[in-house]
Structures are given as C-alpha cells and as structure tokens.
C-alpha cells in the first residue's frame, strides 16, 4: 500500500480493525476445516470467510479508498454480491458429490436418494 501514509490516523484505525476482524473471522473458518469431524460439517466452515470475513475486508477497502478519494467507494459491493452468489454453487456441488459417493458406497448414514425409487426384489 503506497498511499497508506496519506491515511489519517482515525481512518487507519478503522481500516486496521476492519481488516483484522475480517482476517480473524476467515481464520476461524479455516480452523473449522481442521477441527470439525465429518465432511458435511467441514463444508460449513469456509462460509465464514466468504460472508462476514470478506464483508469486513471489503468494508475496510471501502473506508480506506473513500478517505483517500482515489476511486469510487461502492466498487466493493459488486465483489460482495458476486462472492455471495457464487460460493453457494461451489458448496452445493461439493456436498452433492459427497452425498452421491456416500449413497453409492453406503458407508455413512446419509438420507437415501429421492430420485430413484427403491426397486422391489
């Protein structure tokens, strides 16, 4: 950040706190990947980074560049919008791939598929 020295102290404190907050929330989310037990539980953890974590980082960026007035302020809203719209697609794909595997292996207790009715034997 080359422009950072121009940032007034009060703004630097706000930006710093927001950035730290976002980083901590994202870190907790990644810790969740380590600490949670099953795949389906772990899928939940990264959403912390993509929701509150990225929101705080984007807010920091908005405050910083609004104060410096180097470019329009609301730019980051678009990033937030597209991150929110696209993460669920990835998560759903992962979860569906996992449940497909678990159903065909039949190892973990997962709800049966509703698509194919069970055949009478």
């Amino acid at each position: 950040m080359i422009q950072a020295p121009d940032l007034p102290v009060w703004a630097a404190i706000i930006v710093g706190l927001l950035l730290l907050g976002g980083a901590v929330v994202t870190l907790i989310g990644t810790l969740g990947l380590l600490r949670l037990k099953t795949f389906y539980e772990r899928v939940h953890a990264p959403t912390l980074g993509t929701t509150l974590g990225s929101a705080l980082v984007l807010a920091a960026s908005m405050v910083c560049f609004t104060v410096l007035q180097s470019r329009p302020v609301a730019h980051e809203l678009l990033i937030g919008l597209f991150v929110t719209l696209t993460t669920p697609v990835t998560l759903m794909l992962l979860a569906r791939a996992a449940i497909y595997r678990d159903r065909s292996e039949g190892v973990l207790p997962v709800p049966p598929s509703s698509r194919v009715p069970p055949r009478d034997e």
């Binding site: 929330v25 989310g29 810790l31 959403t47 509150l52 609301a74 759903m92 509703s114």
Partner: protein, 160 residues
Amino acid sequence: MRRLLPFPLLTLALLVMWVLLTGFSPGHVVLGGLVAALVSRTMLSLEPEVTGFRPGLAVLRLAALVVADIVRSNIAVARIVLFRGVEHKSGFLHLPIELRNPYALAILAVIITATPGTLWVEHDARRHIILIHVLDLVDEEEWIQLIKHRYERLLMEIFE
C-alpha cells in the same frame, strides 16, 4: 417500451454495475445505458420463464433479515469451531416446501447455503422436499419453522 427493453430490471442492474465500476459521470451513464440495453437483449435468445418478480418492501425486509442472520450464524459457527465444549449435533433435515417458483427456490438455496451452518443439498421437485444439512441440529421442528416463517413467506410475497 417492452419491445425496446424486454428486461427492464436486468438493464437497470447492468447500468448500475457499469456506473459502479467506471465511476459516475454523465458520459458513462449514457454509454453504460446503451451497453446495458443492448446486452440485456441477448437474454431474449435464452427465452427465460417469466419470473413473477414483484419489487416492493418485502425485498428490503428479506435482505435485512438475511444480513442479520448471516452475522448471527457466523458467530454461532465460530463458537462451535473455537470451543470444543460447545455441544453440537449435525445432521440432515427434510424440509417440506410450498414454494414452486424456480427463481424463488434458487434464491432460497443461495440464502440457506450462504448462511454459515446450513447447507442446501438437494431439491426433490416431485415431492417438494428439500434436503438441508445443518451444523447445529438441536430441534428439527424448530429449524423447519424458522426457515418456513422467516424466508419462505417473504419469498412467496416477492414472487408469484
């Protein structure tokens, strides 16, 4: 008007995006407006179904609700991750749903999945049941009522 701008909301959204990206100036509003009007016409060849979207106060209420819930569940999931002592039992949940509008269902899927702690797994379009994975499944009935009352009712107001 309908023939010139078949998708007015999409055109407006594209224009807003253009202005956000390039910065506000009269020239960019005109240029962005032209691009938005032309680009939104490409949707014609996709022949999308009518959305039945009704803009109104319910949209803002839903947005505020989702933001509040995302912050709340961020904290809840962070507690589960950080403190092993916090008891939690995760599991799948079958949720009978009355929504039929595919756009409303897509939005519900995004809301449920974007909120930490709940994950939309699949939707059975024949029996109208969705399968959700919940990280902190204490009371199934409570979750079902929560999703139905908080989101489904508002989505039904916005669509159909």
